[in-house]
């Protein structure tokens, strides 16, 4: 049983983490939202949009009699179009995402900010956003943002590399996978094929640290994975650089290939760069897929 004081402390700790993450995501989303003011048109939905004069072809039951009674013409009540698309995010929460090779924030931080910012953008646009791998089905509304924020603010898991979850992915929805994709690629492949089977399209964003791209190591070194399960010892780390980079390029190519086959989009993002570009790319990738 957790004591009241401890609960309170944890709650405050949580609340502390939330606003910055959310604020950062909101800030990021704000920059994108400006040019993309879509969907202000009549369509299917619940919200009132406008009255328009009835014209030939309109069914009689569509006429809003209360409005028409106030004048001589007949009016039809239109509702705002609400394209209720479901977007599912998967943010890798494995230990490897906690790596930071320099003064930049860890990869996990960047991935979560991007995910949340994307969620903010989409929810403002009327989409439903959910989080894969946790009990957060796609929903709309400001509350969903807070819920997302809370889940994304949790600690990283202990496992070394993350595996994409596909459970609870509705057919023909959209999905976004944010990870470093440094672990085994087989689960990723399975998840993508499964998604393609269900008609789900989306984007893969590989978040990498600059140190992982440059491999700036020398001398006798023992490399360990973040969780400590994998270990590799070398006498001259500098000699491995070329081969490491080749393997990394190969992996990127494989991911891109996989994405192309399944109709997804793939891009790599470095924590050394600004988040803005990645967010735009994600947003566009979702637009394109629609």
């Amino acid at each position: 049983m957790i004591s009241a004081a401890a609960l309170r402390a944890r709650a405050e700790g949580l609340a502390e983490a939330l606003p910055p993450l959310l604020a950062e995501a909101e800030h990021l989303a704000q920059a994108v939202l400006l040019g993309e003011h879509g969907r202000r048109r009549a369509g299917q939905g619940d919200e009132f949009w406008q009255y328009r004069p009835a014209h030939a072809g309109d069914e009689a039951r569509m006429i809003d009699w209360r409005r028409s009674a106030r004048s001589d013409a007949h009016f039809v009540r239109e509702k705002e179009w609400q394209a209720a698309q479901s977007v599912l995010l998967w943010v890798d929460d494995a230990a490897s995402m906690g790596f930071s090779g320099g003064n930049h924030p860890p990869k996990a931080m960047r991935a979560r900010v991007l995910a949340l910012a994307l969620a903010v953008l989409l929810i403002r646009g009327g989409e439903r956003v959910g989080l894969l791998g946790s009990d957060l089905p796609p929903r709309r509304g400001q509350h969903q943002i807070l819920r997302l924020t809370e889940v994304l603010g949790r600690d990283l898991s202990q496992s070394d590399y993350g595996v994409p979850a596909t459970r609870g992915m509705p057919p023909h929805s959209r999905a976004v996978f944010l990870s470093d994709f440094l672990g085994d690629l087989a689960p990723v492949e399975t998840a993508l094929t499964e998604a393609a089977d269900r008609g789900v399209k989306g984007a893969l964003l590989q978040v990498l640290d600059p140190a992982e791209e440059a491999f700036p190591f020398d001398g006798r070194t023992i490399f360990e994975s973040m969780g400590g399960t994998l270990r590799h010892e070398t006498l001259k780390a500098g000699d491995l650089r070329g081969r490491y980079l080749a393997r990394l390029a190969e992996r990127k190519a494989r991911l891109a290939d996989l994405a192309r086959v399944t109709g997804w989009h793939y891009s790599a993002h470095h924590t050394g760069e600004g988040a803005q570009g990645a967010l735009l790319w994600l947003f566009r990738a979702l637009e394109r897929g629609r």
């Binding site: 440094l182 992982e212 001398g219 360990e224 994975s225 006498l235």
Partner: protein
């Protein structure tokens, strides 16, 4: 102790540790450098990658070598290496330490004292009684044997004398010696009469060892005129290879400051002991020279004072009628030219121009009337010491000058017309000269028979005529009359300067008379007969180090003694003033030959160098540490920890730590720039500390850094926030802006000019304070045992300094900010002198303050603790010099800073703190 060459080891067994080195080599080789552990997600991509080569698993050979070196250095260091180990054989019995103590010792006197100290230390360890005897300053009789420690304490009081030992006195003294004793004789390297006798006398009592400095002994002869140039001769005791020396001529410049007026190099040819050179100088400069010296040699033998014999008098010749061109022999100036040309510098021109040149003598040959303006300037010139020499002639005889009443520029009144004797139209014979009377300056000159006077101007009989007549004709009529006027005199020859009226100008007597009148320069040195019966007063004396000092109240010496020209305790070398001239007595005479002391083969002659044991343990261990530090760097580099951005930064920091940063001394003011206003603004807009420029760049830099350090401490700790310190040139800068002057004293500091002294005295009287620092920790001990101490005495003599006392324990300086009892700088402990308190029983009379001058602030603080070095900080704010050792040293530096703070507080607050004792009483009174 086990020795190899110049090295010895105190613990040689430890050297066996070196055998272990090969084993260590193998061990180190087998162990590869430790790996770094890194967390790296990309490890998944690395799995299965194998290393191409397996080279780095072995430590590289150079790193191994480095480590072996370090270990070897450690082993060597702990084995206790010692440079110049000494195996001493203790001596026994009483020991006599004999010092020549002549001027020849002065050139390396401190080294001699060091050597004697070493001897005394050794004697103290062996428990031998010691007597230290100076041959120029013999003890009463016998040998004053005492414990070596007693002599060590008295050693600072020994001072070489500027003369050689007296053979007779030494002979008397050796007769009083008794008992057996060994002798250490520190010879000056110069032979002197009585030396061999002393040696044999000492050898009768025991073993004699001689110590001689290998440094060459040089001296210089008095300067003499050679063909219009100044002939200078330098001597050396032993012929050797070709060397060069620089002779410097020193004198007062027009501003009255002593400085080097000319330098001339002189080269000794190989194998020669004499080197001569000529120095040609304009007469203006030449007459200013007061002494010659060999530069860089501190010895009385290397200094030669000049006297009047080097001075050539300037004589201006002016004739009344210059219109008879071509008739050279009739020219009134012809014979004067001939007589004076060899010995004096002649000037010709109009009277007004000539007076401006301020000659010693002006000759007016048959010049009758002078304009009032000319007459006035001439009178002024005579009253300031000029000699006006007039000759009669037809014009003077025909004029009205000095007829009815005496002309100021004529010694007597003249009767009209003059007279002619022995001519075709007269009865009498031409007159001869009467022998000169005793009061006459010409007394003693032989009168040749063939001098005849045909015509002369006649003096009016006057009451003063008899006094003024200094030469007369056989019938008693005055021939030469003289009148004193102010400091100068007017002399009239009643005949012409040419042979028209008399044959006097044709005779040798004329030249001698001019000489006696000090018109022409006299031959070099008066002989014994001339000196007999005269008394000469010393004006300045040279000490053994060649420093010139005021003679003070030394008694006069008889001329006979001066004629012998052998300097001694009664006749110190220096400048002696007689009635009308000055004579220089130098250590080296015109014919002195320096002969080196020759010792018989049985006497062991050693040098003065003391081979001191040097313990190398610390150095070797430090080297080992340095190698280990290098090893750390190398290992880091090998394992890749030094690469990359942050690693490079770390390496740079490490490298920087090894580099000593030399502080930049920024001169607050360039000396000599006329930036008076700027200086005044800088000095007065904020409180500034100032130091006196000594001319020694290093000392000035330290003083600047020291004051900067003190200023910083003041800013940190007190409400005084001084600006950057200012360097003050005493000759040019105004002092009244500065509350406090720091004056480091160097031995070679030039004396300030009289104007600078006037400024300094005004500064001291109006509330300034000077902190004199001799930087030798020695000033208070024996009243100036060091060169700086002596220089301080010379520097401070013209200053208006009140009586001093060692700082009393209740002085206000001990509590102006901190409570202090010691005042250490970089040196600790010795006394610091301040103005003496009024005697306790003196009552303060109404209106007669005792210490109220300057608000009770002492005008000077004198010490030798080298405060500036303790205060000095470099550009980074780190201390420039170590003080003491370890924590105690830092404590000493802290106390030094506290002394500085107290001092500045004292300067700025006056007696405020000493008045604080009255505060309770004042508060009490206010309460009522």
């Amino acid at each position: 102790m086990w020795t190899v060459g110049a090295f010895g080891f105190t613990a040689p067994l430890l050297l066996w540790g070196l055998v272990l080195l090969p084993a260590l080599w193998l061990l180190l080789r087998a162990v590869p450098p430790a790996p770094i552990r890194r967390r790296f997600p990309g490890v998944a991509l690395l799995l299965g990658l194998a290393d191409d080569e397996t080279q780095t698993d072995r430590t590289p050979w150079w790193l191994l070598l480095l480590r072996m070196l370090a270990v070897a250095a450690l082993i060597l260091g702990f084995a206790g290496p010692v440079l110049n180990p000494q195996d001493r054989t203790p001596g026994r019995g009483p020991l006599l330490v004999m010092i020549d103590g002549s001027w020849a010792d002065a050139r390396d006197w401190p080294r001699r004292i060091d050597r004697i100290e070493a001897m005394l230390d050794e004697a103290a360890r062996d428990g031998r009684p010691v007597a230290v005897v100076q041959a120029t300053d013999l003890p009463g009789d016998g040998l004053p044997f005492q414990a070596a420690e007693v002599w060590s304490a008295r050693l600072a009081g020994f001072r070489p004398a500027a003369w050689l030992p007296d053979a007779d006195a030494l002979a008397d003294w050796t007769r009083t010696l008794e008992g057996r004793f060994d002798t250490f004789w520190l010879s000056g390297g110069l032979d002197w009469p009585g030396r061999t006798a002393l040696l044999s006398a000492l050898e009768r009592h025991g073993q004699v060892s001689v110590f001689e400095s290998p440094r060459p002994l040089v001296a210089m002869r008095p300067a003499a005129f050679r063909d219009g140039a100044i002939g200078l001769t330098a001597l050396r005791a032993r012929p050797g290879p070709a060397t060069e020396a620089t002779l410097a001529a020193t004198g007062r410049d027009p501003a009255g400051v002593e400085r080097v007026l000319a330098r001339v190099p002189v080269a000794f040819a190989p194998g020669e002991t004499e080197a001569a050179t000529d120095l040609v100088l304009p007469p203006e400069l030449r007459n200013r020279i007061s002494r010659f010296a060999i530069e860089g040699v501190r010895s009385a033998g290397a200094v030669s004072l000049t006297d009047d014999s080097l001075k050539r008098r300037e004589v201006a010749l002016i004739a009344g009628n210059e219109n008879r061109e071509g008739l050279q022999l009739l020219s009134p100036l012809h014979y004067l030219h001939k007589a004076l040309d060899p010995t004096a510098d002649l000037i010709e021109g109009t009277l007004s121009d000539v007076v401006l040149a301020n000659p010693d003598v002006i000759v007016l040959a048959d010049v009758a009337t002078l304009s009032p303006a000319e007459s006035e300037t001439l009178q002024g010139w005579v009253e300031k010491g000029g000699l006006l020499l007039r000759f009669a002639g037809p014009r003077l005889a025909a004029s009205d000058v000095s007829r009815a009443e005496e002309d100021p520029l004529m010694p007597v009144r003249l009767r009209a017309g003059g007279r002619t004797v022995g001519g075709a139209m007269s009865w009498g014979e031409p007159k001869t000269l009467r022998p000169f009377g005793e009061g006459s300056p010409f007394f003693g000159l032989a009168v040749p028979d063939d001098v005849r006077v045909n015509a002369q101007v006649m003096a009016q009989p006057d009451p003063s005529l008899a006094d003024r007549s200094i030469a007369a004709l056989s019938d008693g009529t005055p021939l030469v009359t003289r009148k004193k006027m102010g400091q100068g005199q007017v002399v009239l020859f009643h005949v012409t300067a040419n042979a028209e009226w008399s044959s006097l100008p044709l005779s040798g007597l004329f030249v001698q008379m001019l000489e006696r009148l000090a018109v022409s320069t006299r031959p070099a040195r008066p002989d014994a007969a001339e000196l007999a019966g005269t008394t000469w007063v010393p004006q300045a004396v040279i000490d053994a180090f060649g420093e010139l000092a005021e003679a003070g109240k030394l008694p006069g010496v008889p001329g006979e003694m001066l004629a012998r020209a052998v300097p001694g305790p009664d006749l110190p070398p220096g400048l002696y003033a007689g009635e009308d001239r000055r004579l220089a007595l130098n250590v080296i005479g015109t014919d002195t030959v320096l002969s080196p002391a020759a010792w018989p083969a049985r006497i062991a002659v050693e040098g003065l160098t003391v081979a001191r044991e040097t313990v190398l343990k610390g150095w070797v261990l430090a080297a080992a540490l340095a190698i280990f530090a290098a090893d750390i760097l190398a290992s880091l580099w090998l394992s890749g920890r030094l690469r990359g951005g942050r690693g490079a930064g770390r390496a740079a920091v490490l490298a920087l730590g090894l580099v000593m940063l030399v502080p930049q001394g920024a001169w607050a003011q360039e000396p000599g720039t006329p930036a008076d206003d700027a200086l005044a603004l800088r000095a007065t807009s904020e409180v500034v500390l100032a130091h006196v420029l000594t001319g020694d760049a290093r000392v000035d830099q330290i003083a600047d850094a020291g004051l900067r350090g003190l200023s910083e401490k003041l800013t940190q700790r007190t409400s005084i926030e001084p600006a950057e310190p200012i360097a003050v040139n005493l000759e040019t800068d105004e002092l009244s802006f500065f509350p406090f002057l720091y004056w480091p004293v160097t031995a070679g500091q030039p004396m300030p000019s009289p104007a600078a002294y006037a400024r300094l005295n005004r500064y001291l009287r109006t509330g300034g304070m000077i902190l004199f620092d001799t930087r030798d920790a020695d000033v208070a001990a024996y009243g100036g045992g060091s060169p700086e101490g002596r220089r301080l005495q010379q520097l401070a003599r013209p200053l208006d300094i009140p009586p001093l006392e060692p700082i009393p324990s209740d002085h206000v300086l001990t509590r102006t900010f901190y409570l202090l009892q010691d005042f250490p700088g970089r040196n600790a402990g010795r006394d610091v002198w301040v103005e003496a308190a009024p005697p306790p029983d003196a009552e303060q009379a109404e209106g007669m303050p005792f210490r109220d001058l300057n608000d009770g602030v002492t005008p000077v603080v004198i010490g030798g603790n080298d405060w500036a070095s303790a205060w000095a900080i470099d550009g980074q704010g780190a201390a420039m010099f170590p003080v003491g050792r370890g924590y105690a040293g830092e404590r000493q530096r802290e106390i030094a800073f506290r002394f500085g703070v107290n001092l500045i507080m004292h300067v700025l607050t006056g007696n405020y703190k000493s008045d604080q004792v009255h505060v309770p009483a004042l508060l009490d009174r206010l309460g009522q």
